[in-house]
């Protein structure tokens, strides 16, 4: 049997991450992949799809509801267990670290599931990295803006050149063991309080 014959259900409220995982599964040759963003009516969907593997993000508060459903034979035809092999501690830890969880039909061979789980873990990690980099870029931009405003205040109130204003901010930050952006923010806040608008 080829790996492509496994039926996989991805439950993720984050549409971007879900599509990244879906793309990864399709690239790996899985043709029966269903993505669900909303757990409303999930019991019927699971009964229709009859998934061999269910991948779900750990942030989803509905995990307790889903696990209970997996244990009820009415909703799901076959018993579903988390991961493949409890002895595979390393991959369980990697999954929880990445923020992903998987349930699989009992009796499936480990070698058929492992690549799917590994793929989900690496895509989850890639998504987190991407989100983090985006956040860093955003805060970097914010920092630059506040430093510019602080420089402006110093230039105006103390008649400094732009370079001298920046040097003063940097020296103060070093002396106080704080970030330049923090010093700049304090200055902008203080100036606002004192009515010394830019």
């Amino acid at each position: 049997m080829s790996t492509g014959s496994l039926t996989i259900l991805v439950i993720d409220e984050n549409r971007i991450r879900a599509s990244i995982i879906e793309a990864g599964l399709r690239d790996a040759g899985h043709r029966h992949v269903t993505v669900v963003h909303d757990v409303a009516g999930i019991a019927r969907r699971i009964a229709e799809i009859e998934p061999d593997v269910i991948v779900i993000d750990l942030e989803n508060p509905n995990r307790d509801m889903l696990e209970n459903m997996f244990q009820l034979s009415r909703a799901v035809k076959r018993p579903i267990a988390m991961f493949v092999d409890r002895s595979d501690q390393a991959s369980i830890e990697a999954a929880v670290d990445a923020g992903v969880s998987a349930y699989v039909v009992d009796g499936l061979k480990k070698e058929r599931i492992k690549p799917i789980l590994d793929m989900a873990i690496s895509r989850f990690n890639a998504f987190s990295r991407m989100a983090r980099e985006l956040e860093e870029a955003r805060s970097e931009l914010e920092n630059r803006k506040v430093i510019d405003r602080a420089k402006g205040i110093l230039m105006k109130s103390r008649g400094l050149s732009e370079e001298a204003a920046y040097t003063l901010l940097r020296k103060t930050a070093m002396n106080q063991n704080r970030k330049i952006a923090d010093i700049a923010q304090s200055l902008v806040t203080a100036a606002g309080l004192l009515g010394e608008g830019e």
Partner: protein
Amino acid sequence: MSMAHEITAGFMPLFDSAVLVAAGEMGFAAREGIELKLQRETSWANIRDRIAIGHFDVAHMLGPMPLACSLGLTPLASDTIVPFSLGLGGNCITVSNAVWDGMAAHGAVADLDPARAGTALGALVRERAASGREPLRFAVVHPHSGHNYELRYWLAACGIDPDRDIEIVIVPPPFMADALSAGRIDGYCVGEPWNSASVAAGTGRIVTVKALLWRNSPEKVLGVRKAWAEEHPDALAALLRALYHSARWCQDPANRGELAALMARPGFLGQPEAIQMPALTGRLQLGGGVERSVEDFFLPFDKAANFPWKSHALWFYTQMVRWGQLPHTPQNLAIARDCYRPDLYRSALKPLGVALPGANAKVEGALKVATPVGSAGASLVLGPDGFFDGQIFDPDRIDAYIAGQKNA
């Protein structure tokens, strides 16, 4: 400043995480040399997983959950012990306005009396069945929860078979009120503030409370990974002392305002202070303008609330058996009994010279009034601890109790 111990604790955003939260935030942990790292979670499954793989050393858990973990009833099960209880009571059963109207037509009045409310609900359930309507759907927070077992206990004692006559589903606590107002469920059993939330929204009625179904009954506990407890006995003992001081602070009426403000913070419950007060005062709005005060509604400290009674664990075990979650065998019984650890509670708290129960288990439902009991050191008051149907649970007569349980 570096602390002697560093402990990571998981919790769910529920009011009964207060003892754990206050231990970290009000300085009780620091005074015992503990840096307590509190981490909020989104599901009980996450708490279980993170305890199992070691992300958390300890966690706020549903009372039956460590049993379910130790008995292998859940995925990623790991040996988990209970050396401390985080409180007694705190839950309510809430129904939709439509169900309440139906119950009222069958004699229910807004007085929280479990027997009267249950009888009325039973009549409504039979009336609906006779006219071919769908069974009512109730929600609880987890299959291995006090909520599930107390809802089922109440229904069965009132002649309603929880598996045949109604449907029980799982809904996360913060979604209960929404599910009720959207008509996806007809009623639920959950801790505060999620009952008062439906009453405040005008979409539900509180029909009875845990404290009246089984007075002074167990709810959340401190679950501890057994392997961690064995490797870090000093850290665990220090944590139990910190929790003891925190629980006493939480119980003191003088601290209610401060505690409500603490729990209202976005990192904890993130719900307005006013909606935390019913849990603290026991003064509940039932809906329709009716207010009722419930004695011992939620006890974080009084009545030996923090003692991990083996009889509590064993009662949960009998309900797991009753509802088909596991077979009654001597091995399973022994695992359940060993899960709650009064010995660890006693050895940690002994240096404090405070009241400690002398027994590990008690006959549940035997105390009709508050009763002073013999204990090491200072005096201790227990009970009343009655079940609403007058039943007694004697942990020394488990076989007879299990044999006597009926589904309706």
